[in-house]
Symmetry: C2
Amino acid sequence: MTQQKLSDTPAAPGVHPIQAPAPSVPDGATGPVAPGPGAIAALWPLGPDQVRLDPDGLLGRWQRRNAAVTLPHCVDNLHGAGNIGNLRAAAGEADEAFAGMWFADSDVHKTLEAAAWELGRSPGDAGLRSFVDDTAALLARAQQPDGYLNSYFTVAAPEDRWRKPEWSHELYCAGHLIQAAVAAARTGVSPGLVTVARRFADLLVERFGPGGADEVCGHPEIETALAELYRLTGHRPYLDLARRFLDLRGRGLLGPGRFGPVYYQDHVPVREAAEVAGHSVRQLYLLAGMVDVGVETGDRTLLDAAERLWEDAVRRRTYVTGAHGSRHRDEAYGDPYELPPDRAYAETCAAIASFQWNWRLLLATGRARYADEMERALYNAVAVAVSHDGRHFFYSNPLQLRTGHTGAGEESAARRLPWYTCACCPPNIARLMASLHGYLATAHEDGLQIHLYASGSVDTEVAGSAVRVDMRTEYPWRGRIELTLDGAAAVPWTLALRVPEWCEAHTVRIDGGPVIAPVRDGYVRLTRAWAPGTNVVLDLEMPVRQVSAHPRVDAVRGCVALARGPLVYCLEQADLPPGAVMEDVRLDPAAPAVADRREDLPEFPVVLTAGGTLADTGDALYTAASGRGRRGTPFTLTAVPYFLWGNRSEGPMRVWIPIAASG
Amino acid sequence: MTQQKLSDTPAAPGVHPIQAPAPSVPDGATGPVAPGPGAIAALWPLGPDQVRLDPDGLLGRWQRRNAAVTLPHCVDNLHGAGNIGNLRAAAGEADEAFAGMWFADSDVHKTLEAAAWELGRSPGDAGLRSFVDDTAALLARAQQPDGYLNSYFTVAAPEDRWRKPEWSHELYCAGHLIQAAVAAARTGVSPGLVTVARRFADLLVERFGPGGADEVCGHPEIETALAELYRLTGHRPYLDLARRFLDLRGRGLLGPGRFGPVYYQDHVPVREAAEVAGHSVRQLYLLAGMVDVGVETGDRTLLDAAERLWEDAVRRRTYVTGAHGSRHRDEAYGDPYELPPDRAYAETCAAIASFQWNWRLLLATGRARYADEMERALYNAVAVAVSHDGRHFFYSNPLQLRTGHTGAGEESAARRLPWYTCACCPPNIARLMASLHGYLATAHEDGLQIHLYASGSVDTEVAGSAVRVDMRTEYPWRGRIELTLDGAAAVPWTLALRVPEWCEAHTVRIDGGPVIAPVRDGYVRLTRAWAPGTNVVLDLEMPVRQVSAHPRVDAVRGCVALARGPLVYCLEQADLPPGAVMEDVRLDPAAPAVADRREDLPEFPVVLTAGGTLADTGDALYTAASGRGRRGTPFTLTAVPYFLWGNRSEGPMRVWIPIAASG
């Protein structure tokens, strides 16, 4: 087999050796997204057993919290909200009325996937183990003789089975079942679940495969799931069906629906799309499927389209937090540069989907920009969705909450809620956090690449030799990352360390001695025949940054966002002087901001202080233009990491701070 | 009877003589909104036969266009879209399936109301006359034996009759039927229709009156309609039922629905509400009903609440165009100061409802601020909804359309459409325009008040004597208004002329001689024993204004809106240099703007030119804060009246223009 040339965009030399002999994905690479041996792959994912997060680093603590709190909380809520009951009814073991959303099964499947990753990582939890065993068995019993498995269309609306593809989420739910089964098989947690998934997948191939119905699902997800099932099983019809779903999309098969075909990306064939559009989660899951199918089939037109849409998304329609989706009405992307902070929809699932999509692009291309985007989403748009206690969640993640905001239902809640009527987000967080260690590093035949920094370790093989890298860091609070390399490597290999796009200055020391290590395509690349015990220190300078948005982003004109390292910061009412109105706060852009750890806040974070004023803004809504609001009372402004907001008292918040001169 | 003290807010002396002997509404006052003889009324409306708009002034041309084009267009579409067919089916004369929205009858009723006002004004149109006659007869045949009249719940879902008040719009439709009947009776165009309306209203009294069902309608409208029907008939149970619906509201009777009880103002009793909230049209129709019931029952708590909500609406949640409604998702008000120009929902019906509500407040209190608000809405938020050709309409009226906006369905169309699936707006425009002359002036026992300026005439009685006032003006293009007073008046009376809130300098001449005429409470008040033929010239200075929004309106920070007289202006792509991107335009706030008539545009409007630059805005979506976008290419910027945008080529538009210094 030969390595495919991915696209015309320049690849990262040394990381994406498109002319080099084809790399093959090593055996045992069984994390989320495992490109097959013939796939286009600039980088190879490591197996979840090859990377470990220390429990005391921030990412490690998130993963531990997820296991200890969030996952059991999800399981409890699946019981309480009726999702498990629905499956019992479908299995003929209960006759309660169907409860919840018609796609409620998908929450079960996502929780199951999360549990699989978690048990694969740390097989000790008996409760979680029995959830997996019981649920896998229940799914097998709820499955219909022909392989169909969907409790809503079995119990509540059998007459509509396969009849409302624009709305039904049947293939979406099937996709999440398949992903759960893939995770359960890859981790060895529940190999039997894949039998259930394959019976359903075989039914899909029969019904929708070549010569079958020309239909697609209103909510993409099945595409990436079938590609992963192909990777697991080697059964080509799954991949072919995934590709067929992509090929059929954008041909108006779904009809206009309530929001028009753009809502579910059925307005233009996927290879021809020039812009991300419509429901942002659907768009991003579809893009993940495009990359998966593209790399497995060698279809570079799919990858080119995905990279083109990335440019549109990241350059014109992504929030500074890495969130996607500007509009509440249809949970959708907006016009170019339409990025309102207060009405940001910024669905948690979209941020997770963006993370997953960027991981796929990173593996395919090796381009650092995709890892940058993963980092931005993870530390901001994803992390903010979970409370510090791990059992409250945001569905929508605005960048501003106004004074006087009254929670207008679940879609614009003023604080994190324990569960949702449409509960897609919490189990999505759970599956990402449970597999988080799988996204830190990759390998390649000439070396190891570290993309996300956290205290932990990597054990893998490079150039046929076992290597171990231990990482110690207080990232994202400090930019110093200390690595210890162990294991004998007979031949030189390259350790590639990502220097994030936000970092303007870095240093590298090897065994205490400074080395010249320029950034090439987003990474410093250190090639050595590494002696066991070699110490490498990467120091990323982390000054406080004042970030401004493109002037076409009207919604934040005259504002800056404070950022440090990968973190975006925000103001919270709790840190304002008594009686101060959040909307009257101004930042003095010339006053230096100071970064300090704060012991009284969750996570012991670095907070920023800077010069601020409280503007005297007057009364009239509209007046003859004047300099009103420019005078004000000075005070010291405190900004906290955005992902931590809302963990103290409920109240206004804002990421984008008007600068004092802007009125 | 005694005149009621309205509220604690100061009233306009001489216009709202709360201690004076009770005014009584003169006989023959039969326009839209005709307070009864016992009502709280600072001002009395004039009958539609007492005011005439010249056909060559702007308002007169709008009214003429409405009669010649818009109204026949509505009638055609009622046939084409199936609304008439639905009623035929309800009458048992056809058996087609129900077509359109379940509240499609209301479009028929509103068109009927419009036709009644139009025929009352100018009884010549045979086509319109036969539409009224045929439709009135059809409604009588479609009415059920018990008085019920609603084609959807007769034809399509009889089992749901009265069973889904949160959703059904049954009382909403009944309200519009009643309003049509009131208009038809007041104008004498179709007195028989009131029999149909009363049969239905009597059924409502029986079902929902004292001792009946404790229910309200999800969409307010019945309240104001029943008050008007009471005014027409003197039948007190209609007024009592209107009051009962108000008293029952805000008690959670409707249940949460999809958007929560705030959506239909069922979250708080109407007298206790502190903020406008929820679906804006519903809120505004409810407020109109509160004023109607308040003035007729002497219940000042309702009026106080309405004035309190006015303060909230106008000071924190109204667009500079007079539009209401910031959110697409639930067609709703947003948080305080949440006024995005691009995602302004700004429904046409909300602007019309605001106009109608303010008229009621003006009559009740005599306070100029309500007339100011009528003027602002009329010339901007209402007028923009109709194309120059009179047969295309906006449903949503944003203040900005971005480069790259692709029409996302009817709710955010990039251009006016001929008709809508939910066609509430076009017939609403038609009924307002057909009755527009009724809103220009009012009387009081001590004089005549002119609130809106247009070429036309007023014939009425003041202090027992006939008077005639002829108005000549090029308003809103020029601020000069020339009035000729005729008719013998034995005793002195006061001519009150509104000086709009936007006007900072004015002069008055009587028979050529300057007089000192200060503004008191929004009006100049000229008291004379007027000699026949007296000439009064009011000159309102109309410089170009740069309007800024309250600094808490984040969405337009660093921007100004250009305005002149009552008109808000906007930029259109058609006036930019070739290749210029609208989002890159900056206004030089120091350069003087020039106002000039432009012959090549519809309406021969005054356009504004000013100094602009095209900023060089670069590429990156987020960067370290800098002065990017501040350099640019100078050009002469042209602004056109907002209400005229979109009558040339389709393309971007914006009301709020970033100023050059703001980046």
